[in-house]
């Protein structure tokens, strides 16, 4: 027998009416023990700007006040003039930038021609990056171009910035690479 939902409602309605007549005379409503506490209730709230596209949506970051300070939730900031609380799927997944078991927690290094990645220390990695950047930059630095105009640039280094940087981090980053003389500075989110 095929029963449409509408028919279903009629049938259950009828049986309910039958029950009402028979009435048992005492309240059987179950005691609902759903402690509906927001997971963000005791969290610290900080505002930020979504790191992905150029729209620049505002978001609220809820972080734990209990010691570890980890991110509990990130959602759209209803007071933000651009997105008024909304976020697309990328923005809605912002908390995964920090709370994700697949995240790398240490710098990894693959030597030239090597097939494997190895864990290295931050100290070693930063020193090595600084050394190599300095070497390439010094070797390729142009003070003047062919027309004898002062350019102070290097065209041997290109920066493709990470989408995972927020507005302020991006500013600091581009200020640093421009100080080195880079002219090819691009941001992944715009590509």
């Amino acid at each position: 027998m095929n029963v449409t939902r509408r028919k279903f409602i009629q049938i259950t309605g009828a049986s309910a009416a039958g029950l009402a007549v028979s009435g048992l005379g005492f309240d059987l409503t179950p005691i609902k023990s759903h402690a509906q506490m927001l997971k963000t209730k005791y969290a610290k709230e900080t505002t930020t700007i979504c790191c992905y596209c150029a729209v620049g949506c505002g978001a609220i970051v809820h972080t734990s006040k209990k010691g570890d300070g980890r991110v509990i939730n990130i959602e759209g900031d209803p007071d933000h003039v651009i997105n008024r609380g909304s976020l697309c799927s990328k923005g809605a997944a912002l908390s995964q930038l920090t709370e994700n078991e697949n995240r790398l927690l240490e710098p990894m290094y693959r030597a030239p021609y090597s097939k494997k990645w190895e864990k290295v220390s931050w100290d070693w990695a930063l020193t090595e990056i600084a050394k190599r950047v300095k070497k390439t930059r010094d070797a390729s630095f142009e003070h003047k171009n062919a027309k004898r105009q002062v350019v102070n640039r290097t065209t041997d280094i290109v920066s493709i910035g990470s989408s995972a940087l927020d507005n302020e981090e991006c500013w600091i980053y581009q200020a640093m690479v421009r100080a080195l003389g880079l002219v090819y500075v691009e941001h992944q989110a715009r590509i």
Binding site: M1, N2, V3, T4, R5, R6, K7, F8, I9, I11, T12, G13, A14, S15, A16, G18, L19, L24, L28, T29, P30, K32, H34, Q36, M37, L38, K39, K41, N73, I74, E75, G76, P78, N83, G85, S86, L87, C88, S89, K90, G91, A92, A93, S95, Q96
Partner: protein, 239 residues
């Protein structure tokens, strides 16, 4: 006054913000999937996926249309799952919001029977037999926030509020949609708290967009279950 959603699919761009926001708020893990030649992903609702944007490519009047349908529990006004379970410790209606809530006690229900009873094919069984589905973000709603999916929606496709407000909005949006899409309609607005506005026939959007004839043979059992429910209630409170 119960709460309702109005999901205006004519405004949906399938950005899937709702789908991700739902996972994010509920701390649900991602699922490993394969490329099936569609952006619709994962392939189906699951124990870990309460909300899924359905995407269908349909040729209508000689023109290709990409139809989007953010599928979720409808929070029925007379919920067949609740009636079938007859166990308020496992499935109950939250009186303030009208949300149909599945608890951890759904483990003691016959999962197949509950899933079968849903005219929209929504509940999904977990590895330990517990059932899961959309909970209307009842924790957020009770604290004055919008459900995560509604809060995040950038286009205004997802709306949430008091039922009469949503019905009024539905009427207004339908009138607007009708001008462009003569076949536009609301899906089961009198029976559910999650009302969809679609531009074309609901069956084009997803198999269970509209309460269908897909419910077989549960009637007698459900009717009986409803008659004896007070007894099962007593039993479940004694146990």
């Amino acid at each position: 006054m119960s709460k309702s959603f109005l999901i205006d699919t004519t405004l949906c761009t399938a950005c899937r913000g709702c789908q991700v926001a739902c996972k994010q708020w509920h701390d649900l893990p991602a699922e490993k999937t394969i490329n099936r030649g569609t952006f619709e992903n994962p392939a189906d609702l699951s124990f870990d996926t309460y909300k899924l944007v359905r995407m269908r490519e349909e040729v209508i009047n000689g023109k290709l249309n990409w139809l989007f349908f953010p599928e979720q529990c409808r929070h029925c006004i007379e919920a067949p799952c609740l009636e079938t379970a007859g166990d308020p410790g496992a499935i109950y209606r939250d009186d303030k919001t009208g949300a149909i809530i599945f608890t951890a006690n759904t483990k003691r229900l016959n999962a197949a029977e509950i899933i079968e009873s849903c005219p929209y094919n929504i509940p999904r069984k977990g590895p330990d037999g517990t059932l899961a589905k959309c909970d209307m973000c009842i924790d957020r709603v009770e604290n004055g926030l919008l459900p995560a999916c509604v809060q995040t929606c950038p286009t205004g496709a997802m709306n949430f509020g008091d039922r009469d407000e949503m019905l009024a909005l539905a009427k207004k949006r339908l009138a607007v949609a009708k001008k462009k899409f003569p076949k536009a309609m609301l899906i089961d607005p009198d029976d559910v708290n999650v009302i969809y506005l679609v531009a074309y026939e609901p069956e084009l959007y997803c198999a269970n967009a509209m309460a269908s004839n897909a419910v077989f043979d549960i009637t007698r059992q459900v009717a009986l279950g409803r008659m004896i429910r007070p007894l099962t209630n007593i039993a479940s409170r004694l146990l």
